[in-house]
Every structure is written in C-alpha cells, then in structure tokens.
C-alpha cells in the first residue's frame, strides 16, 4: 500500500520536477522519477498480488466524501502492468527526449497522465475513479496535441477529447445506476448492492460502451488510429501499452467486481465475444493497409484489445453457465494478454520512435534496409514482432494459446447456439493472429530488410544507449513471459480467487513446472522451455555439422532470376505487400484505388503510371464524424444564443429558475 502511494507521489514529484526545472536536469529528473515510480508500482503490484487486500481512506477530496483507496489483486496486477512498461519507457525517454526542446508541457502532463492511471487503478469509490479517469484523459489530450503546430494533430486531439468525454459520460451513467442500487459512491456498497437483471444490464451496457470506446473496440475505435500516432513515441507507447489497459481494468472492475459474476447474463458474454472478434479481425485488416508505421501499430492495438475481449467474453459465458474454473482460465488468458500487449506494443512503439528518430519519417514507403544501420533496434523490434504475431516461444503465443484452450471448452456451455458461436470466434482469433503475422512480416520486411528507399533512411544512425536499454528490458520480459508462464500464472491466481472464488494455480502446472496445461494435462499442454531447448539443440547440431573448418561464404550480386539493373524502387513495398489481402477483403476495406496510365503514343508505350490508393476507416465516417458534427452544431447554437444580448441571458436564467421550481416544488 505504502509502495503504491509512493509510486503516485513519485509521479507527482515528477510533474513538479518536469514543470519547474529546466535544461538537461529537467529531463533527467523527469525520467528518473518516472522510472522510480514504475519500479515502485512493480514492487507494489507484486506485493499486492501475494498479500491480502488493503484499504486506506485519504483525507482528500470533497468534505463528505474522502478519497478511498484499495489495493486488491486486480489493482495490483494492473499496477504491475503499468510499472512493467513505465520503467523501460522512462529509461527510453532519457535518450528520446534529448533533442526535444520544449519539455515543459511534456514534463507536466506525462507524470499527471501516469498519476491519473495509478489513481484509476487504486480508486475505491466512484468519485475518485472518475476524477482520476478525467485526469488521465485530459492530460493525455495535451500529450496528443504536443506537436500542435500541425492542424491534423489538433483535429486528432479534438476527436480524441470528444470520444474520451463521451466514454466518461457513459461510465458515469453506469456508476449512477450502481449508486442508485447501492446508495453510496463507495465501491463496497456497490459490490453488495442488489441489482435487478434489467438494471444490471443497463449498468453493464453503459460500462461496456464507455470502456469500449476508451479501449478502442470496433466500431468505437475511430479516434484511436488518429490520436496515438501523432503523440511523441514514448507517449504513444504508454497510451497504447497502458492507457487502453486501464480501460480494460475499468471494464473488469465494473463487470466482474461491482456488478458481480452472479448477475451475468448469457448475452453479455456473447456481446463481448462478438465485439472482441470483430475488433480483432477489423483492427488487423486495417493495420495491414497502413503505410504509416505508428498508425499501423495503433490499428494493432485495436486488434489486441479485441483478443483480450475474446478471453474476457469467454470467461463471462463460462461464469454464467456455472463453470467458474474455466471462467478463471478465460479471465487469466485475457489478463495475460493484457500484460503481454503492454510489453510488446510498448516495445514496438519505442522501436518505431527509434526509427522515426533516426530517419525522420513515419512513412514505411521510404524506409528499408535499416537492419544494417540499426542492428540493436532491429533485433528488439524483431522480438516484439514475433511476440505480437503469437509465435512460440514468445509471450503473445502463450496468451493466445490459453484463449484457444478456453474456447475449446465451449462444448461444456450446453447451449446449442453458443457451442457453434464460440468456435467461430475462435476461428476469427486464429485469422487475426495469422494476419498479424502477415502484417509484421510486412513491417519488419519493409522497414528493416531490403534496400533503403530514401536518402535519409540510408544515412540513419543507431540510437543511443538509453533508448537501447529501454527497448531491451521489455524484449527480455517478452521472452521470459513466453518461456515461464507456469511461474507467472500462479502469481495472477489471486485475481480469479478474488473475483470468481476459484483457484487455477494447481491446475496450470499439474504436470511439473515445465509444462503449462489449462485445467488438465490430458486436455492440452505446452512447454516453451522444452521447445526452445530442443530447437537450440537441433539448430546447434545442424550448425556444427554444416560448419566444418574452412567453410567460406562468398558474396555476390543479387540474382533475382537474372534480372539486371535492380533498384530500390523495384522492391515490394508496404502497399504491394498487402495487395492480395486488399483484394480478398475488398468488401470490408472498401479501398478507393485508381491507376492512371499515360501513354501518349501507343498503348504499349507507357510513359507514366500513377497509382492512387486510399483506405478510409468506415468508423470515422459513420460514427465519429457525425458525433463531432453534432457537438459542433450544438456549440454553434449556444454561440448564437450568446450573441443575443442581455435579454436572452435573462430569459434563459428565468426559464431555468422556473424549471427548477417545477421539478423540486
């Protein structure tokens, strides 16, 4: 508890330091304090997972409503997630911010943003939850518009702020329902409140929509691909890596903890499952069509939130049908993917930041061959790419495997329709995972392999030690979490014990610490250490056998079936790589694609070919723009009223008084 508060205080101090100091001292203080804050959060999270929940009432806030703080298993786990990414990002920022002159805004808002996330996780009453939630949203708005000279950044920031507040409003509505049932803003009374199925559903729907908007679940995701890329890369890492997770936290807190598993209805699970599967596939399909590196990563966040939701949705279904043990498996799968995604997505954004730093561009079409210029960065990026593609022996695979195993339990649901829907969403998960692998072959291949496609990229330099260290830590964590899930899952076991009254720890390593098995070893098992050891042995043997003394390698020109005069523009680029998928999924993507040919003399003598491609996100067009327009129109009406002069003001005041009298009299 003390540690967790220590983390908060460190973040607060960082805000002060970042705001008032100047020069390199400012950067060092900011990064150091954030790093300390992250480390404290990790320790607090570990301790919280192992110990009993602790509560504390702080004499802050409103006079009749002091701030309640509680650190339980769920909060501890998310503290751990925040800390696990915050620490490396702080190290990374020490190098990344070196060339950033205007640190003042970042220095204040970055720590406040972190503080907001800590606060949300620790809050034990609706009031402080919402307070910190808004702190998180508003300070991240300032971070998104950090480079506010460009108009598109301001526009992205506006839509982001709008959607964040819409989400806040919906969450507030959900709390209002729970408040009405429980009679108090404190979570304790909400937990014990008796809810009718109708009001439980209302609270759930509001919470799902609110947190879903904030987490970027399709189709409420439109703000995300605009907002995340324009922030500085260290902030993007935090936003994609952790802030979306805080929304997941809010959802789990409200649904599992406050509304309670006893109130679950079967269609809630189906809804979450459907939202999860569609986000997963939709996110990755659109990610494949991007050629802006950071925008592509932002779309992958949508995909991964979808994967997390598939795990959570399965858990809801299984909990409703009376299989708490299997529900615990789904919950663990979802949460495991939460920490995995925080790590590898943070790492990917840091890698993208390094590339941006070195080459000055986010456009993949002008990159290439960076593996020769930036060997360390490319290695870390490769680790993250393998992890996010859900390939063994890294961590992404473990959580997706656990999700698949949960889905395989579907026959136990008993309801005929569901036993077919669940496999379908598992198939969607498989599709999303495999498409993610395709997407990261594209990213790594186009950015790091091949030839440089522009001068700036050809002259890129490797980043400094701080940034390398910042990327090395999560890369290592990705490997460890992939190799030793058997040690980590029992640590998370406190969460299902608290929320579902069931322990999974004994089941996952029933066959010994090497083998991970969901529920029972005869169902399925997976052992990353054995697989890795086996591969190392086979690979070593093959290498030793194939490299007798005196083996030499000759370098020669590229063959390419004898094609002469190759140049860098003849390579497959990001757009051409995704062409087959663009064609196959044309119905979903609705690409706007034209080819203009110029042949002045004859059709066979082409002089110039111009290819124009635009893939627009339908969510922006159909959901976010209308909402934005609506708000702007409303503002315009209010503005007109303002211009009408004193009489109009008085009339409005008078009308309000009359209305109030009518309501309260």
């Amino acid at each position: 508890m003390i540690l967790a508060l220590g983390a908060c205080i460190a973040a607060l101090l960082a805000a002060v330091g970042g705001g008032f100091l100047r020069g390199s001292l400012q950067r060092t203080a900011l990064c150091l304090l954030l790093g300390v804050s992250g480390l404290l959060a990790i320790v607090a999270g570990m301790a919280g997972l192992l110990e009993n929940p602790a509560t504390l009432t702080l004499p802050l806030g409103l006079p009749w409503l002091p701030m309640h703080v509680r650190i339980d298993a769920l909060a501890s786990f998310f503290l751990l997630v925040i800390g696990a990414l915050l620490t490396p990002v702080a190290v990374y920022s020490q190098g990344y911010l070196r060339h950033e002159r205007r640190l003042a805004a970042m220095g204040v808002f970055l720590p406040l943003f972190v503080l907001g996330m800590f606060g949300v996780v620790l809050a034990d009453d609706a009031f402080s939850f919402m307070l910190f939630w808004e702190l998180m949203s508003v300070s991240s708005y300032f971070l998104v518009t950090f480079e506010h000279e460009q108009p598109e950044n301001r526009k992205a920031g506006f839509i982001y702020l709008l959607m964040a507040h819409l989400a806040g409003l919906l969450i507030l509505g959900s709390f209002a329902v729970l408040y009405a049932a429980g009679g108090s803003f404190e979570f304790v009374s909400m937990r014990n409140a008796e809810l009718t199925p109708f009001w439980a559903s209302v609270a759930f729907l509001l919470a799902a929509l609110g947190f879903g908007t904030k987490a970027g679940v399709a189709p409420m995701h439109g703000w995300l691909p605009d907002a995340h890329p324009v922030a500085p890369s260290n902030v993007s890492a935090l936003m994609s890596g952790i802030m979306l997770k805080v929304a997941i936290f809010g959802f789990v807190r409200l649904a599992w903890d406050l509304i309670g598993t006893a109130n679950f209805q079967w269609w809630w699970g189906v809804l979450v499952l459907a939202a999860g599967s569609s986000s997963a596939v939709f996110g990755v399909l659109f990610a494949l069509q991007q050629h802006d590196l950071k925008r592509l990563l932002a779309y992958h966040s949508i995909e991964n939130v979808g994967i997390i939701l598939i795990g959570l949705g399965l858990s809801m279904l299984l909990a409703h049908f009376g299989h708490p043990l299997l529900a615990a498996l789904g919950l663990i799968a979802g949460l495991y993917h939460t920490i995995n995604h925080a790590l590898f997505k943070g790492l990917l954004f840091m890698g993208a930041g390094a590339v941006l730093h070195a080459s000055g561009t986010r456009d993949m079409e002008s990159m290439g061959g960076l593996i020769h210029r930036m060997p360390a960065t490319s290695l870390f990026f490769l680790v993250a790419s393998i992890s996010i593609s859900a390939l063994p022996p890294f961590n992404g695979f473990v959580s997706e495997w656990l999700t698949f195993q949960t889905a395989l339990m579907a026959p136990q649901l008993g309801a005929a329709l569901l036993t077919a829907i669940v496999p379908f969403s598992a198939a969607m998960l498989a599709l999303a995972g495999a498409l993610a692998a395709a997407c990261f072959v594209k990213v790594f291949g186009v950015v790091f392999l091949g030839h440089a496609r522009s001068e700036a990229v050809a002259g890129a330099r490797e980043v400094d030690g701080w940034m390398k260290l910042g990327m090395a830590i999560p890369a290592l964590c990705c490997l460890l979490l992939g190799l030793l899930p058997v040690l980590f899952v029992p640590l998370m076991d406190a969460i299902p014990r608290a929320l579902l009254d069931v322990s999974l720890a004994g089941h996952v390593h029933a066959h010994g610490w090497l083998w991970l098995s969901p529920v029972d070893v005869s169902r399925a098992s997976y052992s990353a250490p054995v697989a890795l050891a086996g591969m190392l042995a086979i690979g070593g043997l093959a290498f030793w056998w194939l490299h007798p003394k005196g083996t030499t390698v000759r370098r020669g020109p590229i063959w390419s079936c004898g094609t002469p005069n190759l140049n860098a523009r003849m390579q497959y680029n990001a757009t051409s790589f995704s062409q087959p998928l663009r064609r196959i999924f044309g119905g979903v993507l609705q690409p706007d694609e034209h080819v203009h040919m110029e042949y002045p003399a004859h059709k066979l003598l082409t002089k110039k070919v111009r290819h124009v491609l635009h893939v627009a996100d339908p969510a922006v067009r159909h959901l976010h723009r209308p909402i934005g327009d609506f708000v702007l129109n409303l503002a315009r009406i209010v503005q007109q009223e303002h211009q009408r002069g004193i009489h109009a003001y008085l009339a409005w005041t008078f009308a309000t008084v009359l209305l109030l009298l009518a309501v309260f009299a």
Binding site: A416, L417, A420, I421, G587
Partner: protein, 225 residues
C-alpha cells in the same frame, strides 16, 4: 444390418446432403451446378432406399426408384439440354460475393439447427437427426434462388428446395403416401418442362437469361410505349 449402423449411414447421407447443398451454392459454372444437382437426386434416392430398408416401409423403394429416375437422371438431362441449346455455360458474377454467401449459408444452417432442436428432442424416429439438415437444405435452396442472376440457376434452386422438402418428408414421417408422392413428382416434372419452354421463350424475347436484363428490357419497353 443392425439399426445403429443404418442410423449412422442415414446420418452420414444427411451430412452429405448438406455438403451437396453447399456445393450447389459454391459453383461458378452452370454445368457443375447441374452435376451437383444430379448428385443431390442420387443421394435422395439412396437415402430413401436406406430408410425403406431400415423402417420396413416398402413403398419407399418405389419412391426411391422414382426419385432416381426423375431427379437423378431426367431433370438434369432436361436442364443440360437447355443449357446446351442456349449456350449459357458460365454463371456471371453472382449477386453476392461467394465467400459472403457461404458465411450467410453457415449462419442459416446454424439457425435452422437452433430452431429444430426442440422438435428433435421429442421425436422418436430413426431419422430424427436429419430434420435440422433438411430444414437447412430448404433454406439454402432459397438462398441460391436469391443470390443468383441466371434464371436457370434459380430454377435449380427451386428444384433443390423441392428435393430438400422430399428429404424432410422422409426424415419426419418416413415419407408421404405414395399417391401424393407420385403426384408431386409429376408436378415437378411438368414444372420443369414448362420452365424449359419458358427459357426458350425468354431467350427469344429478351436475348438473355439474366433476370435483371429482363426487368431492364421491360422497363425500356414501357418507356417506349
């Protein structure tokens, strides 16, 4: 042969029936549509023969033989002749993209399974399991009529619906009375003949067998008048 084996064979045939319905939906070319339609007829005949054997309803053998002759041979041959005479070998782009059609079809199958389930629980028949499949096949035939442009494919869709209904009849009540069945069989035959005549007529009037083209041509003509 014991009942359990017969049951398994009938179930297997039902599964094949479902597969054939999907295959009908998935074809690009007219000739392969016809092939699969013929296969469906054969499957029906074999199924009713097995049901006849399993239940001891001997008149079902007659209807099996009739199905074989009519739906497995005569109708496909008639349609094949039409296709040859009219030179319509390729179905142009179906109205709805093929993969999407398949997904819709899966949804329909799931739906029919969902609604039939309560009925299956009370039924004691040998063939009760195939009810859901029969329903699904009826709906899939209708889907075929909706998603295709060519009049001939629509007729095949119609005939597939009829096949599925026959299959449902075998499944739910061990077949209809023989008289009714013979009546229906002749109706179908006559219908197919009339359709055949229509095709020629339509072709000479509109120069196309596409339903949209007919509509467009009619609209044009009205405007001229």
């Amino acid at each position: 042969m014991n009942t359990a084996l017969i049951q398994q064979i009938i179930d297997g045939l039902a599964a094949l029936m479902l597969l054939v319905s999907f295959s009908l939906l998935a074809q690009h070319r007219m000739l392969s549509v016809l092939h699969w339609f013929a296969v469906q007829g054969w499957l029906l005949a074999i199924t009713s023969a097995f049901v006849a054997y399993g239940t001891g309803h001997h008149e079902l053998y007659v209807s099996a033989a009739m199905t074989l002759l009519l739906k497995g041979l005569l109708l496909p041959w008639l349609l094949w002749r039409v296709i040859k005479r009219l030179h319509v070998h390729r179905e142009v782009e179906p109205l709805v993209n093929l993969t999407l059609t398949m997904l819709i079809a899966l949804g329909i199958t799931l739906f029919s399974f969902h609604i039939i389930q309560p009925i299956e629980k009370i039924s004691q028949l040998l063939t009760r399991d195939s009810m859901a499949i029969a329903t699904a096949c009826v709906l899939l035939g209708m889907l075929m009529m909706i998603t295709r442009r060519k009049a001939i494919t629509q007729v095949v869709g119609f005939l597939a619906v009829e096949n599925a209904l026959f299959f449902a009849a075998i499944g739910s009540t061990n077949g209809m009375p023989l008289v009714v069945e013979i009546g229906i069989a002749f109706d179908v035959l006559i219908a197919a003949l009339i359709f055949g005549l229509f095709f020629f007529q339509i072709r000479t009037t509109f120069d196309s067998l596409e339903v949209d083209a007919m509509h467009a041509s009619l609209v044009e003509r009205e405007e001229e008048e």
